[in-house]
Amino acid sequence: MISVRDLHKSFGSTEVLKGINAEVKEKEVVCVIGPSGSGKSTFLRCLNMLEEITAGDVLIEGDNLTDPKVNINDIRSRVGMVFQHFNLFPHMTVLDNITLGPMKVKKMKKKDAEAVARPLLEKVGLSDKADVYPESLSGGQKQRVAIARSLAMEPKIMLFDEPTSALDPELVGDVLAVMKELAKEGMTMVVVTHEMGFAREVGDRVLFMDEGIIMEEDTPQNIFSNPQNPRTQEFLSKVL
């Protein structure tokens, strides 16, 4: 479903990604862990071209992002993205945040878009918040709205960029619960996270990144209980 081949990314003269190869299969949940500055967020952002790709190929359902003829807006509408800082639209109500994409990208009527949005709000446990503005929500609620906003486009793939890192500890659980539910329903997910518990419980595969490459990849069981690479061992000994 996602196929990454020898991906390089540089910011000016600093090379952040130094040749990444990865495959994500349909319905698979892949968690990306690693120290900060290891390039994991950049890697994720390359998967929907929020970062321009310096070299290499990223294929989403067979479409190569680096092909100049590819319709990037179309691909992005099939790839949902959830950000560390939520990035809700503060000038719109919760409901309008969710219906904007379906209405403007898929040209749905307002009524139809709301018929998509309301069940999603219910799914993330926020049906009573449809008409409020994001500023009145807690961080955890904001992030759940952001997830609903992505899901409204009915994406095939969901990308999560440290979705719980900006949350107060007691709010993390609600967001993770929604993500677990999604994983159970068979969503293809790539999750950059510091939540080792989530990676262990929900991930099908864990990628350990450091210094711009994937140092080790394995099932959660193997990587957490028996890491092979010394860098992985060092990292896990610090965070676990």
């Binding site: 929907n48 929020l50 807006n73 179309d74 992005r76 509408s77 099939r78 790839v79 949902g80 993205m81 950000f83 800082h85 990035n87 809700l88 639209f89 503060p90 000038h91 904007l100 994409g101 403007k104 990208v105 952001a146 906003r149 992505s150 409204a152 486009m153």
Partner: protein, 235 residues
């Protein structure tokens, strides 16, 4: 003429308070000034509407990654901000008619001058406001599949516009005052009409006092209102 009223009052006694008002220069200058005010406001409003359109286009152009578009917009902004508006109005009214042989009407020339001048300052207001919106907003819009244009229109612009309101109000006050410079090409705006009055009556103090009061009647409430808007945007 100037002293006729005092003489009259001396003759008739102090029973005519109404006359005291209606015969004073402060009162008699008003028909002139109200006519002038109409032109001042007309030039300011029409000029600023066009100026806002120019400012929006050039402000967004200043954010463009395209070097040519960025370059054109930057030249426009720097040329206009780097030259006095008095030179600009003379350039438009005399310079351009000289060059093209067209006879540009004074009011049109004034409106063009305000539009071009304010346009450059508004371009910087627009650029700053759009630039100040968190990059994550753009990323969130693009990642649901919106095009660049849609993201600008539905997400960035509405948020940026709110931040533009205080500086735009400020620009309104500046442009309103700048229209007084058009008296040099004999546009019948507020200051010019005041000058016309004291040219006939020599009542310069009274006429200019009233001219200033007329400006203040527009500018002070605007400033007060803007401060209130600003405070509301803060919280």
């Amino acid at each position: 003429m100037r002293f006729s009223f005092e003489q009259k009052r001396y003759r008739q006694g102090a029973n005519t308070q109404m006359e005291f008002i209606t015969e004073s220069h402060y009162y008699r200058v008003m028909p002139f000034l109200l006519e002038g005010l109409v032109w001042t406001l007309l030039i300011t409003f029409v000029g600023l509407i066009i100026g806002f359109a120019l400012g929006a286009v050039f402000g967004l152009a200043r954010l463009s990654k395209n070097k040519i578009i960025y370059g054109i917009a930057t030249v426009y902004v720097e040329v206009v901000r780097g030259t006095p508006i008095l030179a600009q109005i003379l350039f438009i009214y005399f310079g351009l008619s000289d060059l093209t042989g067209l006879n540009i009407d004074k009011i049109t020339a004034s409106i063009i001058a305000i539009a071009i001048n304010a346009g450059a300052y508004i371009a910087e207001i627009v650029r700053g406001a759009v630039y100040s919106i968190d990059k994550g907003q753009n990323e969130a819009g693009r990642s649901v599949g919106l095009t660049r244009g849609q993201t600008m229109r539905y997400i960035i612009w509405p948020q940026a516009f709110r931040r533009m309101i205080p500086p735009l109000g400020n620009q309104f006050v500046i442009s309103l005052k700048d229209t007084s410079l058009f008296s040099v090409i004999a546009v019948g705006e507020l200051l010019y009409m005041g000058q016309q009055y004291y040219g006939i009556t020599f009542a310069a103090f009274e006429a200019l006092t009233m001219v200033c009061i007329m400006y203040l009647i527009i500018t002070v409430p605007t400033a007060v209102y803007l401060r209130r808007v600003e405070r509301r945007l803060d919280v």
